[in-house]
């Protein structure tokens, strides 16, 4: 797995020097439709967000985005090939054309959006970095972690936030640079690090997979803003629009009360003009992005609207148990706000 990081970089080098330029400049939509399959870069395994279940099917919050895009573009939510990427390989995989879209709880930052030549198409989860410690350590605040050994996934924004946070608070720490969430979990469980830090949602998901989740606490400090969202390559704006508006369709669907159960009914007899446009009953928004009228309807039917996806994968009813918090609709005091469909 470690080798794959290196191979990924080499692959990028080869791709950059070899002939795989089509992905960068070409028409991703056409490439995906010709292939009949969407290639989606996902996490190597983070329960609730992206992880294979017992029968090997990928499920999770980020997976739902892949499925919605596949449904919109190809008409079938299952025509997705999932490519697991680590914190180190993810952006290289995207920019080398190995994946069409990256839905892998990645933080939207300035330099990634510009210098790395990626386009973050929106935010599907507003997150922040937290710390998890074992209960018997007796630590109740991140401010008490002076001198601690801390496991951190390398190549992430959390790695930089960690350095900033400890510097700002004039504390010392010993970083243990690990490569994937699974490795971090193993090191943390073995006690090789006092604390594990990553996005608070990731901590909750990781803890949910423990045999004894009650013995671990997530400290109250949230030390950063981590807007997580899907990303595509720079340069193919039409493809970027498709992914962006697919996400927006999921969010808007929740706002207008369109769910996977009532969508057929609403498509035929909704009075709300916004819903009519969204579901393609009036106007033809799909044609503007190179798709058919029903694209958004299929995307929503893939795994439900944003709220349904959240509740099914990471919500309070699931073992991960995340509250909506910032991720509630703007009408409910959250930050989710889809621009109008017109």
């Amino acid at each position: 797995m470690k080798r794959s990081v290196f191979l990924g970089s080499v692959a990028a080098f080869v791709a950059a020097s070899g002939g795989a330029a089509l992905a960068a400049e070409g028409d991703t939509l056409k490439a995906v439709q010709d292939r009949g399959e969407l290639i989606c870069g996902v996490n190597t395994g983070l329960v609730g967000f992206a992880a294979p279940d017992a029968s090997g099917n990928w499920t999770g919050f980020d997976i739902a985005i892949c499925k919605a895009v596949a449904a919109a573009v190809l008409g079938d939510p299952n025509k997705v090939k999932y490519v697991p990427t680590t914190g180190q390989t993810r952006f290289t995989a995207l920019s080398s054309g190995e994946v069409d879209v990256l839905a892998r709880n990645s933080t939207w930052t300035f330099s990634r959006d510009t210098d790395l030549a990626l386009d973050f198409i929106g935010v599907n989860y507003y997150d922040g970095q937290g710390f998890m410690v074992s209960k018997d350590l007796g630590v109740t605040s991140a401010k008490e972690l002076d001198g601690a050994t801390i496991c951190i996934q390398t190549g992430t924004t959390t790695e930089l936030n960690l350095a900033d946070y400890f510097k700002a608070n004039n504390m010392a720490y010993q970083p243990v640079n690990i490569d994937s969430n699974a490795e971090g979990e193993q090191q943390y469980m073995a006690g090789a690090c006092d604390a594990y830090t990553t996005d608070a949602s990731g901590l909750a998901a990781t803890r949910a997979a423990f045999a004894d989740p009650e013995n671990h606490v997530i400290l109250p400090e949230i030390v950063s803003k981590e807007p997580l969202g899907p990303a595509v390559r720079h340069g193919d704006n039409n493809w970027g629009d498709i992914v962006r508006w697919t996400l927006n369709a999921l969010i808007a669907a929740e706002e207008y009360g369109v769910t996977s159960t009532n969508i057929e009914e609403l498509a035929s007899n909704s009075e709300n003009p916004e819903v009519q446009r969204l579901l393609g009953s009036s106007d033809d928004l799909g044609a503007m992005i190179g798709l058919d009228k029903d694209w958004a309807k299929r995307a929503i039917m893939a795994s439900g609207n944003y709220g349904e996806i959240f509740a099914k994968t990471i919500g309070e009813e699931t073992p991960i148990g995340l509250a909506r918090g910032l991720n509630a609709q703007w009408t409910q005091g959250g930050l989710l706000y889809a621009p109008p469909f017109r």
Partner: protein, 418 residues
């Protein structure tokens, strides 16, 4: 070509480039050269155009930006405010440290095992064979991961050393604490600290270190003078003056005086807060990598040493025994010097392998060059091409340095034709 007389009556024709033996080799070389250049040009041109298509440029400016990340136990002062360049240097130093330590340990281990495999003791020789076959036939990465996993899973967290009646206590007369994060060993303290010499770029060396280095090198030079004079006396009179006590004094007395003067003492690692401090914490990644590299490369070196020894004709041993040399002196004075000539060229390859294999450090969170420049820096800046190229250049330079050093050593020990 001048010694092949060209028939004058035959004018030059184009087909001669292919069918005339005089020109054919030239034609082939020219064609191959053009093809290689064309392939190189195509690669470079394609890279540039594809980088443009991706909207990326090619520059090394990122090396001078703030790195923003921390590295555990850096060998030179480093923090997140330093540049990516300094992070890369920290990584390079870690690579060099693990390579040197690995080469030294693997050489000792390999030599001992190589000799032991030829032992007359059947069990001992077979055990060594098992070791060699085990290690050289299983991928190095697995060994590194196995050692790392053992260290992490078997050893306790530092907290196990806490309290009146701790679960674990320090071993080796209370000097060394084994934990699942690091091995805490005592560090060296000075009561009469002479201060630091600043070499620039915030790299410091303690004056005491310099004093010890001067004394040791000076002692070694004086010892050579003494030995040369003893040799001269022996050549002149046939009797060799006793020198062992002079040599012993030269090598130890000045060092002991320095130890007394600076007040050298050991600082024990103590558990404070979450971790041990005061001593030196050897990270498990480092320990695992060092052990695995040593054991793995040692197996190859053992075979090289064995082959070298077997290459020395048995007559040499018999002649040495006939002269009354004891077995260990036969080995040291007769066989090994001759075997070295066979051993050193393949040994150089093993040193090169070890150095390059050290890049597997990424598997155990040891921040070597691959972990800093080719890992975190590459990821945080997205400069794949630049970082990988730079890394290739540095590994190339390191390897060429090792080769040059070993070739110089080889030139000294190889058979001198007289």
């Amino acid at each position: 070509m001048s010694d092949i007389p060209a028939p004058a009556h035959q004018p030059f024709r184009l087909s001669m480039l292919l069918y005339d033996r005089r020109y054919r080799s030239m034609t082939i070389q020219v064609v191959v050269f053009i093809l290689v250049m064309a392939a190189g040009w195509w690669l470079v041109d394609n890279t540039i155009r594809n980088l443009q298509a991706l909207g990326k440029d090619f520059n090394f400016g990122f090396l001078f930006q703030r790195s923003g990340y921390d590295i555990g136990s850096p060998p030179i002062p480093y923090n997140s405010d330093d540049t990516h360049l300094r992070a890369a240097v920290v990584g390079l130093l870690n690579t060099v440290i693990i390579s040197i330590l690995g080469c030294i340990a693997a050489t000792f281990l390999g030599t001992a095992v190589g000799i032991a495999r030829l032992s007359n003791n059947w069990l001992f020789a077979r055990l060594m064979t098992i070791y060699v076959e085990m290690f050289r036939n299983i991928p190095l990465l697995l060994w590194i991961l196995i050692v790392y996993a053992l260290l992490t899973e078997i050893l306790p967290a530092p907290a196990a050393y806490r309290g009146e009646d701790p679960e674990w206590s320090k071993i080796l007369f209370g000097n060394v604490a084994l934990t699942n994060r690091y091995t805490a060993i005592p560090s060296i303290g000075l009561t009469n600290d002479p201060g630091m010499l600043d070499l620039g770029f915030r790299i410091m060396i303690n004056w005491a270190t310099i004093a010890f280095a001067v004394v040791l090198i000076g002692g070694w030079l004086v010892r050579r003078v003494v030995l040369n004079r003893a040799q001269a006396a022996q050549d002149r009179t046939g009797e060799r003056p006793t020198t062992w006590w002079i040599n012993l004094a030269i090598m130890t007395v000045p060092s002991l005086l320095l130890i007394w003067y600076f007040g050298l003492h050991l600082i024990q690692p103590e558990l404070t807060g979450f971790n041990f401090s005061g001593g030196l914490n050897l990270q498990n990644g480092f320990v695992a990598l060092w052990l695995a590299l040593t054991l793995y490369t040692g197996a190859f070196i053992a075979e090289i040493v064995r082959a070298g020894i077997l290459s020395v004709s048995k007559g040499q041993t018999e002649a040495a025994f006939a002269l009354g040399l004891q077995p260990n002196r036969t080995m040291n004075l007769v066989i090994l010097p001759q075997a070295l000539r066979v051993i050193i060229p393949p040994l150089t390859s093993q040193y090169l392998n070890l150095t390059k294999n050290s890049s597997l450090a990424i598997a155990v969170a040891y921040m070597d060059l691959r972990g800093t420049l080719g890992g975190t820096t590459l990821n945080q800046t997205g400069r794949e091409l630049e970082a990988i190229l730079l890394m290739m250049l540095i590994y190339l330079a390191l390897s060429l340095l090792i080769s040059a050093g070993m070739n110089a050593f080889n030139a000294r020990v190889k058979l001198k034709e007289r």
